[in-house]
Amino acid sequence: MAEQAAPGAQARLFYPGYAGHSQISGRTLGFWLYMLSDALLFTALFAAYAVLDTPMNAAGGPVASQIVNPIEGFWQTVVILGSVTSYSLGTVAMKSGHRAGLVWGILGAILLAIVFLGFGFGDLAALAAHGAGISRSGYLSAYWVLILTHAVHMVFGILWMLVMLAQIVRLGFNEMVVARLLNLRMFWQFQATVWVCVYVYVYMIGA
């Protein structure tokens, strides 16, 4: 039995000074796992949306085709992808140690994110003004919560970017700051991907 193999003369029992895993790879894996759980969260929200996207669940209120505007949604999509591009160009600048380039990239990303949120909150305010608030029908509840959950992700992303701006200035490009900036890039792409799903699923199919 292989389990019974006798130890050879060189059988090594200890590994002094074993370096272990790299902290960056652990953090990156951990962050991917977090995004997996976050993706599951959106999956459940999309499932709820699919269940409630019927005329019956609209309960006499507006249905998808009456509230979504795929043209405006298209411009929102362009803006959010622009924000991701701006951040990514910033990290390209980081690669060459170009601090100002990164700061400008992040500022651009924040600005475009605020433009996006402005569009989104404008839409929601218009809906509320027309009596199509979250409490109007089961369908509208699903619509509002899906849009707002994505918006909350963006708000936390913006907050994170502001913190990172302070850290770049105060701490420079140390190992942890760079690791956080790279995770933030993944997060920012993740929330944009979620938006693309929202656009396809809610705006394009709904229209």
Binding site: E3, P16, G26, L29, G30, L40, A59, S141, V145
Partner: protein
């Protein structure tokens, strides 16, 4: 946009008013008195023995996975006791309130609990036992054992590990608080919809239930990320995947389940929250809500959750059975495959919780077959354990007794589960106590494995064994209580008793209800045995100190000193075989010492996790009572804490080789290292490496 509230609300205190404190209920008066007395006794002891500083430095702010694991288990055991008292009240109520002429006291028409109070008791029992007892206890074992088993010094994210613990504790504290401020949910641990909606549950009970689960499940999700990363990234050199001990394998699979399932629970509860707080219509009976959406979302989490609990239990059995059979585990590879098969199938069976929804024969057929499929990998496991026992040199130590009893419970619970998997049978016994008895066999398997784990790993942490005699007394009384209570409950299910009855109207149930009450009294006796076992073991600790408590243990955690020092391994071991320790022992290498030591990097303690946990508890309380300013403030506090942490340059400290050598020499002659060296002034700056 706040939903229309029944009752008063003020900006300063939200829904909180003085008459929300149920000081006129006699049961709660006594409970409150008990909590105050025990609480004061604990505080007095800590102050009298001058241990406040020690408690803060070594426990509350610790990031050591072993201490965090111990605290998880302590929280779990306290909540297990609370959940048990709920069970005791239910059993006693049902036996007292039997038949149309049953007398009533303390405001109840029958028995001693009015219906609304009884409903809270069973809701709390289920919620507590699943989420605040079983989950923390098993998480605790995973925390303690997995890093040791894989030859690591700590978890991948020690700070986040502490955060997970304190979030879980905050949730548990909210559940306990609901005893004395307001009330708890009366809508079942599953949150029966639309009963949990605001018009039907206008109080704060459902909010307590919802936010307590929500906060603790954030902790569970973070812990899952931590566990998976630890197992994937931090195995010792030579620890290839197929040398990984089975408990670590089951931890991995169970945490993959947690990571993917808990977000769905979070969504289900958040949407319910939108209904209750913002007046949304996800699950309302009118206005375009969909009741079954909630039930589906809940059980899409709920069934994987069951396997999230049971898989680590299988892991504990797979550690205990080989150790006390003096044989390697039979069929290691099939055991691993079966573990992942169960984890995979766990996603495909949720609908069997509501076969009677009326989904039609095709859907019921699919979920019935999927459910029965679970029996195949589970059967593989049972046969593997049986073949491990076969011709082994079996020691009937306390952990082994628990493990063997666990196998019987698995058989009883598994076979009745197969019966319930058939929709035709399911329609007959749906929501009867037959079902309740079935799943109690499964969750008591969790408890049995938990006590196997407690007795098995206790000496690893504390250096002395738990008393064998009292441990056996505890085991036998507990076992007898289990068999008597749940055999009677199966019978009552066949006699047609449905679950959640505050008044057992049929006098024909009386004999079996009395048998159940007798069984639950045996549990009371078993708790006394448990406490005596702890007291006797602590009293006699000097006599039972052993360098190797279980001389037949096989896995890497037993290679460390007993009790295990805070740095785990003085030198990272090189793994050569599956069951490394058994292999070393066989070849006379188990006493081998490393020839040199190198500096060890250790993480520093942090007060932030316990502060964030406390803030999360305050936030939950504020959300429950709708005190918006306090909710906003505590949430802002949490965010500020997280940001402070991200600016923290303290990256731990190094233990120098001379220090390690000195400690190792002391350990070898039986000393105990209780505290870490004080390094508060000499942490390494971030730029140093």
């Amino acid at each position: 946009m706040q939903a229309q509230l029944p009752g008063p609300w003020s900006p300063l205190l939200g829904r909180l008013t003085l008459d929300q404190i149920p000081y006129q209920v006699p049961i709660l008066q006594w409970t409150f008195a008990g909590v105050v007395v025990i609480g004061l006794a604990v505080v007095f002891c800590v102050l009298y023995f001058r241990k406040a500083g020690y408690l803060w430095r070594e426990w509350l702010t610790t990031v050591d996975h072993k201490k965090i694991g111990v605290m998880y288990i302590v929280v779990g055991l306290v909540m297990l006791f609370r959940g048990f008292v709920d069970g005791l009240m239910m059993r006693t109520q049902q036996v007292l309130a039997n038949g149309p002429n049953a007398p009533g006291i303390m405001g109840a028409q029958h028995g001693f609990l009015p219906p609304y109070h009884f409903d809270q008791v069973y809701s709390a029992h289920g919620t507590i036992m699943i989420l605040f007892a079983a989950t923390p206890i098993l998480t605790g074992f995973q925390n303690i054992v997995v890093p040791l088993q894989i030859g690591a010094r700590d978890m991948a994210f020690p700070y986040m590990n502490a955060l997970s613990l304190w979030l879980t504790t905050a949730g548990a504290a909210l559940v306990m608080l609901s005893l004395f401020v307001g009330d708890f949910s009366a809508a079942g641990w599953v949150g029966l919809i639309p009963l949990t909606e605001l018009p039907f549950s206008p109080g704060t009970g459902v909010d307590y239930w919802m936010w307590a689960i929500q906060i603790s499940s954030v902790g569970t999700t973070l812990n899952a990320i931590n566990m998976i990363t630890t197992i994937v990234e931090m195995r010792a050199p030579g620890m290839s995947w197929f040398r990984l001990p089975v408990f670590s394998w089951t931890t991995l699979s169970s945490n993959i389940i947690a990571l993917t399932a808990f977000p769905v629970l979070g969504v289900a509860l958040a949407l319910l929250g939108a209904d209750r707080y913002l007046g949304a219509h996800f699950f309302t009976a009118g206005n375009g809500g969909n009741l079954m959406l909630y039930t589906n979302l809940f059980w899409i989490w709920g069934h994987p959750e069951v396997y999230f609990l049971i898989l680590p239990v299988f892991g504990i059995l797979s550690e205990v059975v080989p150790t006390f059979s003096e044989k390697p585990l039979f069929g290691y590879v099939t055991m691993v495959a079966a573990t992942f098969a169960i984890a995979g199938i766990s996603w495909l069976v949720w609908l069997h919780h509501f076969f009677t929804m009326g989904a039609g024969p095709d859907i019921n057929g699919f979920f019935s077959v999927a459910t029965m499929l679970v029996g195949i990998p589970t059967g593989v496991k049972v046969f593997n354990w049986a073949f491990t026992l076969y011709r082994g040199r079996i020691h009937f130590s306390v952990p082994m007794l628990w493990a063997l009893f666990g196998l019987f419970l698995l058989l009883a619970g598994g076979l009745t589960g197969m019966m319930l998997a058939l929709p035709a049978i399911n329609y007959t016994v749906h929501d009867s106590v037959f079902l309740v008895a079935h799943f109690h066999c499964m969750v008591l398997l969790v408890v049995a494995a938990a006590f196997a784990g407690v007795t098995y790993w206790f000496p690893k942490l504390f250096g002395f064994k738990l008393d064998e005699g009292w441990g056996k007394a505890f085991f036998w009384v507990f076992t007898l209580g289990t068999v008597i209570t749940f055999a009677a409950m199966f019978a009552l299910g066949f006699e047609g008793e449905t679950r959640r009855l505050d008044w057992t109207f049929d006098p024909a149930w009386k004999p079996m209800l009395i048998v159940e009450e007798f069984g639950i009294m045996l549990y009371v006796v078993s708790i006394v045995c448990f406490v005596i076992m702890l007291a006797v073991s602590i009293r006699d600790r000097a006599k039972t100190r052993l360098a190797q408590p279980w001389p037949t243990a096989r896995t890497l955690e037993w290679l460390t000193h007993t009790p295990v020092p805070f740095y785990n391994f003085a030198v990272t071991p090189q793994v050569n075989m599956r069951d490394e320790l058994a292999w070393r022992r066989e070849h006379g290498l188990d006493q081998a010492k490393p020839d040199r030591y190198e500096a060890i990097h250790m993480p520093s303690n942090s007060a932030l996790p316990v502060i964030i946990g406390a803030l999360a508890g305050v936030w939950g309380f504020a959300m429950i009572w709708r005190i918006w300013w306090l909710a906003g403030l505590s949430l802002a506090g949490i965010i500020v804490c997280v940001i402070i942490r991200s600016f923290d340059k303290n990256e731990g400290y190094y233990l120098q080789p001379e220090e390690i050598e000195a400690m190792e020499t002391n350990l070898a002659i039986g000393a105990i290292i209780a505290e870490q060296p004080d390094r508060s002034h000499s942490s390494i700056p971030a730029e140093a490496h």
